[in-house]
Symmetry: C2
Subunit: 368 residues, 2 copies
C-alpha cells in the first residue's frame, strides 16, 4: 500500500509536510491501467494502443505527473547527462563554447552537469562526476590528470578534450587548427613586411599554446627571424605584463602574436594606451579564437578563428559515438578555422589600415 492508497488531484503531502510527486503508480490507478502501461506511454516507440496512451497522458496531466529520470537512469544505466569541466570563464571563448555545447546537447536530449575547477582543487571535485554517473565527460581547458582519465576509462565513461590535447591514446579530442593558424599568422605578418616578431604564450603547460607557437616559429625561424617571447598565463593582467616586457625591450617586436584573443586584447590596450602605439600602423597584433569582442571597434583584432559551432558539433558527434560504441576508436579531430584580417595588423602598402574584415577561409575538417 502506497501512501494511504488515495489518489489526489494534486501532489500528495507526505507526513513530513514535504510534497510528494505523483508516481507512475498513481497515474496508473487514476487511468485504470497497469503501471507498465504508464511507462510505455512515456517511452518513445513503445508498443501501446493510441487510446491507452491518450488515457494515460490525460491522467498524467491531471495529476501533474512527470517521469522520474533518476529512477529511469538507475535501470537504463544512462543518466543522459554530460559532465563538463571548464576552467576559467573570463575568456569569452569558454562561455561561448559552453553555450553552444549546452544547446547542442539539449537538442540531443542530454543535459550538462557543470563542474568548474576552483583554483587549487583539481581532481577531487571533478572526480565525483563519476558518482553522478555521467554518460561522458568533456574537458574544456583543464588539466586532466592521467589518474582521472584512467578512472573514467575503467568506468567505461568516454572522455573528450575540447580545445586541448593529450598524449593519452584513450581520450578523444577536438581542437582548432593550431598548426594551420600559427602558420597562417606567421605568413601573413611576413607578407605585411614585419621583421621583428613576438609571441605571448598562454601557459607553458598548455599544448594549445605550444602548438601555436611551434607552427609560428616553424615559418619564421627558417627564414632567419627570431621570436621574442613572454608568458601571459592566459590572463588579462598577465598579458599586459608580458606585453610591457616585450615592448620595453631594446629591440621591441613590431608584430606580436598572442596565444588567444583574450590576451591579445590586453596587449593591444598596453600598446595603445601605455606606449602610444597605433595598432595596425606602428605594430601588428594578432590573437587566436575570434571571440565576439575581437570584432568590437575597440579592438578590431586580426585573429585566427576557431569555429565554435563546428567544434561543438564535432565533439557532440564524437561523444554520442563513444557513448553508443564504447569500444570505438578515440577521435582526434582538428577543426580548421581561417585568418580574420582586421585593423589591428598592418595593411599592405597602399591600403588603409582599417580595411574591411576578411571572411574566414576554409571550413571544418577532421584529420587523423
Amino acid at each position: 500500500m502506497r501512501r494511504g492508497g488515495s489518489v489526489a488531484k494534486r501532489p500528495v503531502r507526505g507526513f513530513g509536510g514535504v510534497a510528494l510527486l505523483p508516481t507512475a503508480y498513481d497515474v496508473a490507478t487514476h487511468a485504470g491501467v497497469s503501471q507498465s502501461a504508464v511507462s510505455r506511454a512515456f517511452t518513445e516507440g513503445a508498443s501501446i494502443a493510441p487510446a491507452t496512451r491518450d488515457r494515460v497522458l490525460k491522467a498524467a496531466a491531471e495529476l501533474g505527473y512527470r517521469p522520474n529520470l533518476i529512477a529511469r537512469s538507475l535501470i537504463t544505466r544512462q543518466s543522459r547527462t554530460i559532465g563538463v569541466v571548464v576552467g576559467y570563464l573570463e575568456n569569452q571563448f569558454y562561455p561561448q563554447l559552453l553555450q553552444a555545447l549546452s544547446h547542442a546537447f539539449q537538442a540531443e536530449g542530454y543535459r550538462l552537469l557543470l563542474f568548474t575547477s576552483p583554483p587549487g582543487s583539481g581532481d577531487p571535485v571533478v572526480a565525483d562526476m563519476l558518482s553522478y554517473r555521467v554518460d561522458a565527460v568533456i574537458l574544456a581547458s583543464v588539466m586532466l590528470s592521467s589518474h582521472l582519465a584512467e578512472e573514467c576509462r575503467a568506468a567505461g565513461i568516454p572522455v573528450l578534450l575540447l580545445n586541448r590535447k593529450t598524449d593519452s591514446p584513450t581520450v578523444s579530442s577536438v581542437t582548432g587548427d593550431n598548426e594551420g593558424g600559427g602558420r597562417a599568422i606567421a605568413n601573413y605578418l611576413l607578407a605585411m613586411g614585419h621583421r621583428r616578431f613576438g609571441y605571448v604564450a598562454g601557459l607553458e603547460s598548455s599544448s594549445t599554446s605550444r602548438d601555436r607557437e611551434a607552427a609560428y616559429r616553424a615559418v619564421l625561424e627558417p627564414q632567419g627571424f627570431g621570436v621574442a617571447r613572454a608568458v601571459g598565463h592566459y590572463d588579462h593582467m598577465g598579458a599586459k605584463i608580458a606585453t610591457r616586457a616585450l615592448l620595453a625591450s631594446g629591440q621591441a617586436p613590431d608584430a606580436i602574436f598572442y596565444a588567444n584573443d583574450h590576451m591579445a586584447m590586453a596587449g593591444l590596450e598596453v600598446a595603445r594606451f601605455e606606449f602610444g602605439l597605433v595598432p595596425g600602423r606602428d605594430l601588428s597584433i594578432v590573437g587566436f579564437d575570434n571571440v565576439g569582442a575581437a570584432a568590437w571597434s575597440s579592438f578590431d583584432l586580426t585573429t585566427y578563428s576557431q569555429p565554435i559551432d563546428h567544434m561543438v558539433s564535432m565533439v557532440v558527434g564524437a561523444t554520442l559515438d563513444q557513448i553508443s560504441h564504447p569500444q570505438a576508436e578515440p577521435v582526434r579531430a582538428v577543426v580548421e578555422g581561417g585568418l580574420i584580417i582586421r585593423a589591428s595588423t598592418r595593411a599592405p602598402a597602399g591600403a588603409p589600415a582599417g580595411a574591411p574584415a576578411g571572411a574566414p577561409a576554409g571550413g571544418p575538417a577532421a584529420r587523423g
Copy 2:
C-alpha cells in the same frame, strides 16, 4: 545471483561488452561484510565500527567502487543537483555569475545542471528540470513563465530568481540594488554638471532595466530634466543602434546611462569611433554591473557594481534554506553595490578626466 557471482579486481564486463561498475554488493562480498555495512561506511556519521569501515574502504578502493549517486537520490529524494537557467552568456556578467554559483554550490556538495534557453524555446526545455528532480531551480536572466513557477511550487521545488524579480509571491529573488544604483548614477551625473540625459534600456520586459530607469528618472525628472531614451535589447549591436539614435538627434544627451555594462561598452565605442567624442570629456557614459571588462583601459567605465560574490552567497544561502525548510517564507534580497567612478564620466572641474578609479562605496546588505 548477480552477474555470475564472481568478484573481480576491476570492473566486470557485462554481456554487451559494456563495463559495469562495481556495486556496494561487490564491495561487501570482497570485504566480507554485508551490503548495509558498505552503505554505512560511505555515510557520514553512520553507526559503524572503525575497523569495519576501514575494511570496507580498502575493499572499495581495490575495486574502484564509488557510491552510485543516482541510486542514492532515488531513495533519499535528493539529487544534490541545482538546476540553473541562464539566457545569454555574451554579457560577461553571466559567466562570472555562473562560475561563482558553481564554486559556491560545489562547496556545499551540490552540482549545477545547466539549462540554457535557446532563443524561441522557453519553457519546454526548462521544464524537464523537474524530471531530473533538481533540488532547486535558479533562474538568472530568463523569463519565468508563471506556469513553470507554479509547477515547481506544486512539486515542492524552490525557485530562486537571480538578478531578476517577479510579482509572484512564492519565488525568492536576489537582485542588485537597482533603485540605489539608478539614483546614485543620476545624482553623480547631476553633480558633474550634466543637463541632457539619456537612458538605454535593456528589454522593456525586464524588471531590472525598468527599476534602474525608474530610479534614475525619479531623481532627474523632479528637477525638470527629461531623459532621452532608446532600447538596446541587452545586446552589443542593439546598444550601438540605440546609441546612434540618441547621439544623432538634435538635442543629443551628454550623459547616457545604460542598463548594463555590456551595452555601455558598445555605446562608448559608438561615441568614440563613430561620433569622435571623447568619453569623460565630451560626454559621460555609465553602465551597471561592474563586469571585468569595464575596468579595461579601452572602456574605463564608470558603473554601479553588482557584487557577484555577495549575491551568490545570498542566493546559495537562500536556496539551502528553502531546500531544508520548504515552507519557509520566500526571500527577497537586495544586495547593495557601489558607484565605481572611472574615466568614462566627466570629472569635476579642475580634475583630469582620467582620474584614478574610486573604490566601491558601501557593502552588501539584505533588505526586505
